[in-house]
Each structure stands twice: as C-alpha cells, then as structure tokens.
Symmetry: C2
Subunit: 109 residues, 2 copies
C-alpha cells in the first residue's frame, strides 16, 4: 500500500501533535525554566492528576521531546536536546518557507 506522506511531513506532524495540548506546552516550559532535569512534582504548578501528568510526559517522551532519567528516588525529566533541535529545524523551516509565498488573497472568512 502506498504511503501518501513524506518522512519529513510525518515527523513534523508528530512533533506538532505532541505540542498540541496546553498541558504539554506548560510542562515543557516548566522543564525549560527549571534549567532542566525536573521531576514529576510538576503537578504542583497546576491542577492535574498525577496519572494524567504521567500520560502527558509519556507522550512527550515517545515524541522524543523530553527524556527521563531514573535517578532515585525521583525520575527526572529534561528536554531532549538533539530531538528538540530537529523539531525546531523542521518547524522553523516549514513555517518560514511559507512566509512570502502567499499571493494577495483578500478572502476574509
């Protein structure tokens, strides 16, 4: 069966999807602001069940945007540098590419 999308299209969509929930945006911002390597008491920062938080962390992890380090008694998370940059490049490139390509289109709805 035919594959209708390129690898880059799939990768880009995958990263974007991981960013597609405000809880995950917030989690990434928290991880970022703490410098890095933060644990699950992210839940103190906003009302969310630990199990729900865990699911979002898993999402971010499987998408490759964060990594977890088992560092007892905590599990610490941080942004995954390499993949983050890959995502950044894909997204930046995608967004920039369109920058000046639209023609004058007066549609408003």
């Amino acid at each position: 069966m035919k594959v209708p999308y390129s690898d880059d299209q799939n990768r880009l969509a995958r990263f974007a999807k991981a960013l597609g929930h405000p809880a995950r945006i917030k989690i990434l911002e928290i991880l970022s602001n703490r410098g890095c390597c933060y644990s699950g008491n992210i839940a103190d920062e906003f009302p969310i069940a630990l199990s729900t938080l865990s699911q979002h962390l898993k999402e971010l992890k499987t998408a490759g945007l964060i990594q977890g380090e088992i560092n007892p008694p905590y599990i610490k998370y941080c942004i995954h540098k390499e993949n983050w940059n890959i995502a950044k490049n894909l997204i930046d490139n995608f967004l920039a590419e369109k920058k000046d390509k639209y023609s004058p289109c007066d549609a408003t709805s």
Copy 2:
C-alpha cells in the same frame, strides 16, 4: 472555575494541534507552493476522500491558519498571513526559549 493555562499556552497548543496531522502539513505545503489561493482539487495530490479533505480544511480554517474565499465556481484557500505570522512568532519563541536552558542531563531513555 480556574483556568490553568495562559492565553499564549492555549494559542500555541491550538496552532500546534492544527499542524499535528500529516495531511494538514501536506495541505499547507501545497497551498504554499501554489503561491496561494488554491481550491479543493488538492485531493489530486494524494489519496484522500473529498469529504475528509474538507474536514482537514475546516480544521485549518478554524485554527486560523488558512482562509477560504468563495470565488465561484471554486472555493479557494490560502494561507492566512496574519495568523500564520502569529503562529510563527509563538512557536519560534517557544522553541528558541528552550534552546540553551537545559542543563547537562545524561539521561538517554
């Protein structure tokens, strides 16, 4: 009831979510490559039912990334310049912000 997420977090997640499907990435690339203002025969470019395509276009439209112009006998779509730039700024800013903030974290899984 309390609102756990900021406006920017919600906006960013909303845009990202709209980009979170390869079909929509592809649609945006097609719109971009055609210069702009293109109609629904996007469906020629890859295997997708017209009704499904219509749904994805609606998604992109409600997210604000594209706009449709009723220009009989076609309905033409193009990238929504203002919102696209808003999305770009939000996303760029978000992605860049994290760039150098992670601390050395040797986690690999």
